[in-house]
Symmetry: C2
């Protein structure tokens, strides 16, 4: 942990050295492979095999709104979206490095709440927060770099490995984060069940990286994988492009988070199209050779088969009536 | 490289997929230990020994001003300040992961210019840009995570190893970045030599991480090291605190960047006090057992000895007259 902009008082209301001391105390002494943790120029970690690394940044007003997200929601989400990239490779999480850019409107208690939620998710996923920095900024911005580990690159799953004849599957349920965002924006049906409402909001505010599922899918020999961050219509397109193949998905097969149907109909949108185009679900979309089907179902019961890989190029979405449907990726509303 | 906020058009004027494609083409195929580079969910790097990792963020209006810094200056500085932390550990640089948060006012050409300057510094330092992301933001913010490598943690230099009797040294020259900032803010003497002016501005805009010096100092057995990011008065205090020792520095011994003297006197400030309190020089401050003095001087000729480590606690700055001087760390002006 370090602080480089001492005195940027109009941007950073907290005493950053006091905040860093509280954060270091909160994080405690890192263990495991972390040999030098927060407090030095850099963290030092015992290495071996291959390191798998991703950086992600979330910005107030773009990826969340402080008006409707608690500081804990922000910390959780910033780490979750980074870890989701490790899940999509099938890597075991290792360390996280956190950069907090804090405006004057975020006080020390809120910053600690943000880090504490991150620490809770880190502990739940076997991740160690090994370093970071705090700077001033006009807008709350959290960058998280995560490093995971694997024995070799052959154990990992890349985006480009799909082959014609492979099946396309997805973990969990879709559309929940998008419907949760719609509720926050006022598009809420009057008869939505309270537990469904809470579930949708939680999918939006506290996404869960599918680390166990990613590791299990990698072990069964899936051919390609990506996390659903931009909406399945966009992310399946990435698999098709990187693999040099075509992908056909059946919208009627999409597993919908409970409540998505009600929220979509209230907004006069097709539930499956909402679930296909809305982002931020952080489920795992993958392709697998047909002979791996039962192995996949045994390893990860919460899998739904959605379509097939074809020779050719591009993504085709097949609607309930059997005709191709054109969708755009989810667009953040501001 | 990835992009998660498709459609945040008021924040991000560029087509981020087109920008990512240009960045990937600019970076080319990573080599060396990078097995999977930009374009997948995460980068994969062959690992061994220990990984040394630091994250740093620079923000428009806090760490630079787009009004007086080119996009290339911003890219260079963002990578340089991160690499400087590796230099301070004595680690060899490996990979960099870059998060660009771009406002609508930054176009595709400027973003490419930023990354291109980063790529130039990466190539000059043996660093591979192995991944990153692009998001929209109200303010230009660049987060860089760097990972370096060493055979073992014992080969690295930490902040807390100073012992009473050690000598205190610093690489290069001080005060140049601070005086360069003062020039940009209008505090410029009429008789400043053009080459000195350019030199001071360059120290502010294009700091150079002292990677070769850091590795050489680590090999000679220095006892503690830190990079001078907040001003030597602040950073020497960190060495004293982490080592549980006192440090005495003689201000009259400070090696001043040419032109600092003139800029300081023009602003009616003491040149040595300016050089001790101004940040962003990114030289290396270290302590070494007295018997390592000649080994250090052979390994890194551009070293100046500034003081000694004492039993006790805290930092004492001794002025030219022999009396203790009180300084505050450099404060960014906004």
């Amino acid at each position: 942990m370090g602080a480089r902009d001492r005195g940027a008082g109009d941007l950073l209301s907290v005493n950053e050295l006091a905040l860093l001391a509280r954060i270091e105390a909160l994080l405690g002494s890192p263990g495991g492979r972390v040999l030098v943790g927060p407090g030095d120029d850099a963290a030092v970690v015992r290495a071996g095999g291959v390191a798998v690394t991703s950086i992600d940044t979330v910005v107030d007003g773009v990826h969340f709104e402080l008006a409707t997200h608690s500081p804990g929601d922000v910390g959780h989400k910033a780490l979750a979206v980074a870890l989701s990239d490790l899940a999509a490779m099938g890597a075991a999480p290792g360390e996280a490095y956190v950069s907090l850019a804090l405006p004057g409107s975020v006080g020390e208690e809120q910053a600690v709440e943000l880090v504490d939620a991150m620490r809770t998710l880190a502990a739940a996923t076997g991740t160690t927060i090994a370093g970071g920095d705090v700077v001033g900024s006009p807008v709350l911005t959290v960058s998280v770099t995560v490093t995971g580990w694997a024995d070799s690159v052959e154990r990992l799953v890349r985006r480009g490995g799909s082959r014609p004849g492979d099946l396309v599957g997805v973990t969990g349920q879709l559309g929940g984060a998008g419907a949760g965002l719609m509720i926050l924006q006022g598009a809420e049906p009057g008869d939505l069940a309270p537990d469904e409402r809470e579930g949708l909001l939680r999918r939006h505010r506290r996404p869960e990286p599918r680390l166990a599922e990613g590791a299990a899918l990698a072990a069964t020999g899936v051919s390609a994988m990506i996390d659903v961050s931009d909406g399945i219509a966009t992310d399946a397109g990435h698999l098709a492009d990187r693999g040099g193949v075509g992908i056909e998905l059946r919208l009627a097969e999409l597993p919908l988070t409970p409540g998505v149907d009600a929220v979509a109909r209230h907004a006069r949108r097709d539930p499956a199209e909402l679930a296909a185009s809305a982002g931020d679900d952080y489920e795992l979309l993958f392709t697998a050779p047909a002979d791996r089907r039962s192995a996949v179902e045994s390893a990860v019961p919460a899998v739904t088969w959605l379509g097939e890989v074809r020779a050719g190029a591009g993504l085709v979405l097949v609607g309930a009536g059997g005709a191709a449907v054109d969708l755009r990726g989810f667009e953040h509303t501001r």
